[in-house]
Symmetry: C2
Subunit: 253 residues, 2 copies
């Protein structure tokens, strides 16, 4: 019996934003592995074994998946959004790269999904209309100095920024420090959006600007989107606003 | 009769990589608008009007969609991948922003999709495991000096780069110039991938490194992925390779 691994991006939350390809992979799985809230999101029969784990144990989880696959199981390693964007995909390959040679024989298929940044952008309008970057604010895996260097480089180069993992109880001050840094580079009127739990029942969107961005309105489930000088808001008669980034860049910034 | 606009990301190509939400929006459409190859990709009954257009007429196309919606039609404006990533979404909002006030009353819903960069990354392994950026190489809407400034900033900050619109007949030299620039910043061993038509029958993947990257292997349908010093290849016994970016950044680069 030959086992294999599917690394599956579940999409933002609503089942209609998950691809049929992801559903087909999940339907083949004998085992589900992932952070508990994502494993819980998958419907599966009682014969499917659920290995739900805590946050921050990505490598252990990846090794477990590889061992199960080599033992003949069909393992779906699940992540929210897209598994390749701060999800489980890189942990699986990292585990293989540093594991026994036999691990390179395991069959791994990564199934892409609609990432949180794409779902948030669609909900807001078209803030990613130009070049953009995606940065994790977490200092779990990299020093804060690297985070700050990247934020400054992106702002100076005129890239729109999507910030993942913007804030946790263990590091409540980082996001405010990031905003302070960006205020030294960007005009205060540059739009900022907080998009929380997009596509889920507790969805919440806040639009502000970098001068007024308040980290207290952000939690770990929020995607923070920071515009560039070409990002504009459009006010509608019903009080709603759209956010978009103009496509044409005329000047050398 | 109230019209509306759906801006729909069709995903990379294969129908199983398109979300049910996108299919549901397409099923409501009375009119399909977009670049001809994307409109052709949508299955629809003979009563649905297809407005296929050439490339580079995004704003005209957007205005046409708005006028149809205000006349009561249900218009699906379609893009490949995700409509918010170098697709039609920002053109629609740009047209509204610069159009008559009444245009702000039109109902616009953006449906996210699996973007080309996410599909290519999944096919390759997990090259987006860390922070990354997405940059269009086209000088249709921005000066080459801005493109070069952004490439240099991203490389110096250690971001993995996904390059859209890397090469066209009108500008065959740009990609080579971009590689030359990046060779002055990145170690020659940094992996580079050319991912063409991922998820479609004519899919083709080439793995190389920045020292050896050959622009002649790239066309307009190719997504160019440039790693960072933490991007590694894993050689498999069957001759295939995986590409992934390690998640841990130890040093201040």
């Amino acid at each position: 019996m030959t086992g294999r691994i599917f690394v599956v991006g579940l999409g933002p939350g609503a089942p209609e934003q998950r691809t049929p390809q992801a559903d087909a992979a999940l339907a083949q799985a004998t085992d589900l592995i992932g952070y508990a809230p994502y494993v819980a999101r998958v419907q599966a029969g009682p014969e499917v074994v659920r290995h739900a784990s805590d946050n921050r144990v990505e490598l252990e989880r990846a090794r477990h998946a590889i061992e199960l696959a080599l033992a003949g199981r069909v393992v779906a390693v699940v992540s929210g959004g897209d598994a390749g964007v701060f999800g489980m995909a890189s942990a699986v390959f990292e585990a293989i790269d540093h594991g026994p040679a036999a691990w390179r024989g395991v069959e791994v298929t990564v199934i892409p999904g609609v990432s949180a940044v794409l779902a948030a952008a669609a909900r807001l309008g078209a803030p990613l209309g130009g070049d953009f970057c995606v940065i994790s604010l977490s200092d779990n895996l990299k020093p804060q100095a690297v985070v700050h260097k990247r934020l400054a480089a992106a702002a100076e180069a005129g890239l729109v920024m999507a910030l993942y993992n913007p804030r946790s109880k263990a590091r409540p001050h980082q996001l405010g420090e990031a905003f302070d840094l960006l205020r030294t580079i960007l005009p205060g009127t540059v739009p900022v959006a907080f998009a929380r739990a997009i596509g889920r029942p507790d969805e919440r969107v806040i639009l502000t600007d970098i001068a007024h961005a308040d980290p207290e309105q952000v939690d770990m489930s929020t995607l923070v989107l920071i515009g560039c000088p070409l990002t504009h808001t459009i006010a509608r008669a019903n009080g709603e606003k759209w956010l978009y980034t103009a496509r044409r860049v005329d000047e050398v910034e």
